[in-house]
Symmetry: C2
DNA sequence: GAATTCTGCTAAAACGTTTGACCATTACCG
DNA sequence: CGGTAATGGTCAAACGTTTTAGCAGAATTC
């Protein structure tokens, strides 16, 4: 790799010291306008580009943050809610760039063996995420999108959390079903259960007991349509078919819809369906699905903003922000 | 940000020099097994994490590469082919990690004002990409996924390119239409025309002239369904409706399919449709769409591999790899 | 028993930048 | 005209590593 012009080269060219060059280029320090201009001109002529590494070394900061999401590792296979994750990623990158940070794509479980980033965003953290453990230990901030299930030890830093209020969102769906006249409501979820699904299930059970309805939670082996077959079949078959189903994941709702059509159960005529994570799937089924829009763009923007605040002021305390979801009512629940 | 234990702290602890610590931890240099173990034990006890910045400064490499894709900036809006880009990104990150590199999400048009990465992958490069220009100038390798439209100046480094053979892919689709008995075939594309669409159009025109068929290229204002209305309408209306349409983008095909259904034109009964970029859209329409699978995972893996090769051996020459597409025949062309 | 090789380690330079302390000059004040 | 202030810079340390050259002593060779 060829040697790039450095601050010292400019210094030699213009006959000033390296310190002056450094200051001149960043419009700091005291010097004559003429010197400053000469330095800048020389820098431009030489095609000088500041060396971020050297800058980081003295500054102690890399201006880099990372984002870890489970979905990214499974990408070669089918990932549910691709659109959700992609939006999350895109919005995070954009916000980071605005704040003059770079965004590094990490995978969870990758327990960084070198210090390279100033902080991390972790999406849907698992309970034993080694990245989080390491970051806690070395005192680098981590903001999670979705609740942390661990929170271990006194060494853990302040809690930085961005999340949707899934309890409220679930209530909203169930109330909507109720208003539309559904009396028996089932919930369809899939392994593995993350904090989001756990919250939804809890809220569902709570809601059912308040409304004195018999809860019915059906679990699929995975969000993939092929693995959801049995669970979906069980819901859709005739005796005991619920009047409404809230599926926690869009692929589940899609599978359910297909199966319902196959056995001649009309949606929304015979059954309502709603799901979480608005995206292409929900919009393009027939009928289109009523969904909870989780506002991934806001989630990511908020997370990055909080993270960078925490980097700039390490002594600031915990921060916990809830991003409101929005119920998008579509034809699958009668418009 | 609290000061982390450094190599010097370990040196003091164990009573050896910093150089020895550095060598010990990386299993290099000559020293007694006992010393090596003592150093490692001390490092572990102190919770030492190597400082990547310092390492980069002396090594001249950051172990970081970036990936730029147009789609990432448009993410707050609707992005066509989300799945394609997400897979590209995920596969690139995974491959980079395997090779001990970090992947930075960049946006095109962001003309890096500091040197932070060792090389870049640019997806669907535009003709005036400032990132590419800068990288060329400072001698950092860039591999593009999709042909470069510029290639300016003698200073430009070797060409590093990964691409699908869209000519071949387009021929395959058209031959498939032909075999199925379609006589009039239209092509539907959308502004802005990138290298991929240009290749497809050229191939289409070529194919038509060889088969002595009248070509019919229809352009939409953008890939978004809302902007494609007029173009789609023009194709679908009765007199002169083609027997088959190849839409270069999946959202176009989807819009076309919907409009066809609306005017009572059955697919595949009255018209065949095929599209590019396999993804959820193509799989879930009814009927499902015949597509060209571009193999994004392979594209990204290859790109990252080539890039890192070029970083490790800057004097190696140009590299150009074609990744084979696969025609996935589905119901929209009669199975 | 002198020359050579091996072993185990260290010193110091280098990477490119930032920053705080300092130092000449020249200008200004009363 | 002596003292203070402003101007326009420079010096050197520091950031945490890697790497090359070298050195003292022990072991081996002939």
């Amino acid at each position: 790799m060829k040697r790039l012009p450095s601050i010292t080269d400019i210094a030699r060219e213009t006959g000033v010291s390296a310190a002056t060059v450094s200051l001149a280029l960043r419009d700091k320090g005291r010097m004559s306008e003429e010197t400053r201009e000469r330095v800048k001109a020389s820098a431009a002529a030489l095609g000088y580009v500041p060396n971020a590494t050297a800058r980081s070394l003295v500054g102690g900061r890399t201006q880099l943050i990372s984002i870890a999401m489970p979905a990214i590792r499974q990408v070669p296979e089918v990932v549910s809610s691709v659109e959700y994750f992609f939006r999350l990623l895109g919005a995070a990158a954009a916000r980071a760039l605005e704040l003059d940070y770079g965004l590094l794509v990490a995978s969870p479980s990758e327990s960084l063996d070198r210090v390279a980033v100033d902080g991390a965003v972790v999406v849907d953290p698992s309970h034993d995420d080694p990245t989080i453990a390491t970051f806690d230990r070395i005192g680098r901030p981590v903001v999670t999108i979705g609740r942390r299930l661990d929170r271990i030890g006194p060494e853990a830093g302040p809690e930085l959390l961005v999340d949707n209020d899934y309890t409220r969102a679930t209530f909203e769906v169930l109330d909507h079903f109720n208003e539309k006249g559904a009396r028996s409501i089932a919930l369809l979820a899939a392994e593995p259960i993350d904090s989001f699904q756990q919250d939804s299930i809890d809220a569902y059970l709570d809601w059912c007991s308040r409304h004195e309805l018999e809860p019915r939670v059906v679990m699929a082996d995975s969000p993939e349509p092929s693995d959801a077959g049995v669970a979906v079949e069980g819901i859709v078959t005739r005796p005991g078919r619920p009047e409404a189903v809230y599926a926690t994941i869009d692929t589940l709702a899609e599978a359910l819809l297909e199966r319902a059509a196959a056995v001649g159960a009309g949606v929304p005529r015979d059954m309502f369906i709603a799901t979480c994570s608005d995206g292409h799937i929900a919009r393009s089924t027939s009928p289109p699905l009523t969904t909870i829009d989780e506002k991934p763009v806001e989630l990511a923007q908020t997370a990055v903003t909080i993270l960078i605040d925490a980097i700039l002021d390490p002594d600031a305390g915990s921060q916990s922000v809830q991003v409101d979801t929005e119920l998008l009512v579509r034809a699958s629940t009668g418009g």
